[in-house]
Amino acid sequence: MQTTAAEKIFVKGNEAVAMAALEAGCRCYFGYPITPQSDIPEYLSRELPGLGGEFIQAESEIGAINMLLGASATGVRAMTSSSGPGISLKQEGISYMAGSELPGVIIDIMRAGPGLGGIDASQADYFQATRGGGHGGYRIIVLAPASVQEIYDLTMLAFDLSDIYRMPAMVLADSVIGQMKESVTPNSRPKTVLPPKEWVVRGRAEGTPQNVVKSLYLGDGEMEAFHWKMQARYQELADKESRWEEVQTADAELIVTAFGSTSRIAKTAISMAREAGMKVGLMRPITLFPFPKKAYAAISERCKLFLDIELSTGQMIDDVRLSVARDAEVAFYGRPPGAGSLPTPEELFEQIKKNYQACS
């Protein structure tokens, strides 16, 4: 890492993740190589040993997520990272972590799918991340950065939220954000007050209660009670932790909505539209779960036309539709993932024009 005069460093998104994890006090990393995120384990394999931490290249993504489960259960901060196929393999483990109320950070640098797909940027794993690709109807925290600085900051936030709400937290980005280099101010770990981890499995010393990390609930009504407890926690998350960015929405007649890398492309397209005299704004969810429903509802009181842009055939659009006012319209422009399919600002500008004209 070379630092500039301004203390900024110019790094890849993936490297920023690794740096932020270390700053957040993460001392255990378990992962399995997969493009386009392998810079993360590579960086940590260099840095963790010197910090007294543990780096394991697991035998598989399943090994990795279960090592994360084991480490998190003992109360340390730990992380794994992967991409599409590997994240699919982790679904059972994530479900167990959610069912065991375990924290733990999962980085998902999305690539094109389904199947082996390709290594190009994708947003087609939105459903998998936000709806729980695993069984049992749990949810996890999902944070969607749109810049290298933000992936740094959100990785740190993921550790805090995960500890506070006792559930896995995922940073959901794609190969644009993971491979892109930008200048980053390596912020130090925020002084968030974290709840004590009394539930930790670390040996049942005399006089302390037995701690058990488990997801098995067999007593009458126990599992149901767990679900309602989680439901309340999700609501609390929505109330306290919803994050989003609005750009020029105040006077907008068309609101583009997009997350992560697409929001970056959209921003330039919106500048082009503004230059062309169109009142266009951007609504970018930063937390995908909790989805900033209220913010969408509020915006849609004043602007009735949305254009949702995704690197998929449309997934977040469900959340947008379920959030906006009933009389709002949500148009869609999707470029499913794959080589040569990343939209350009010019292309999105055309879409904005088309929809803007349709409305006026």
């Binding site: 110019f10 644009v176 892109m180 280099k181 930008e182 492309i265 959209a266 921003k267 397209a269 939209p343």
Partner: protein, 180 residues
Amino acid sequence: MRYDVFFAGYGGQGVLLAGNLLSYAAIHEGKNVSFFPAYGVEKRGGAAMCTVVFADGDTGSPVVGNPSVSVLLNQLSFDKYAAKVKQGGICIVNSSLVDTGGIDLPGIDVVLVPMNQIALEMGDVRMVNMVACGAYIEKSRALKSESLAAALKKALPERNHKLIPANLIAMEAGAQAARD
């Protein structure tokens, strides 16, 4: 101001290093920078591309559909990307490897620089990317050459710092060629 430049060539031509170099130069000038690379599937000999966007404010999209400047180092890149250059933009071509075939690119300033030849003359064909960078700053005037000199220290690993003077000469040669 917001600047963007697109580099493309095959693996081994140093496309990514060139992008990094311009990035550091822009950072040196206090700009915000987004450097966005892309590769083909081959480990060796495949395609390599990158886009660098730098600006005083937000860099916005790291993806650029119609670059203001494209630097195209081989035939494949030229065939695929030359026509994408923005109207009024610049297309810098490695004429050592590219046959522009009399293709007409109206509204685009096509600059032919025999980069391999120049690099070979400088003693190392691997300096093609430096020649290209020189041509770029000459034509775009987006960055100062001092900044590139400073950037070399950041972009090159320590063990290659001894090559900096040679690289600077290669850049200057590229600039010179573009000027002519």
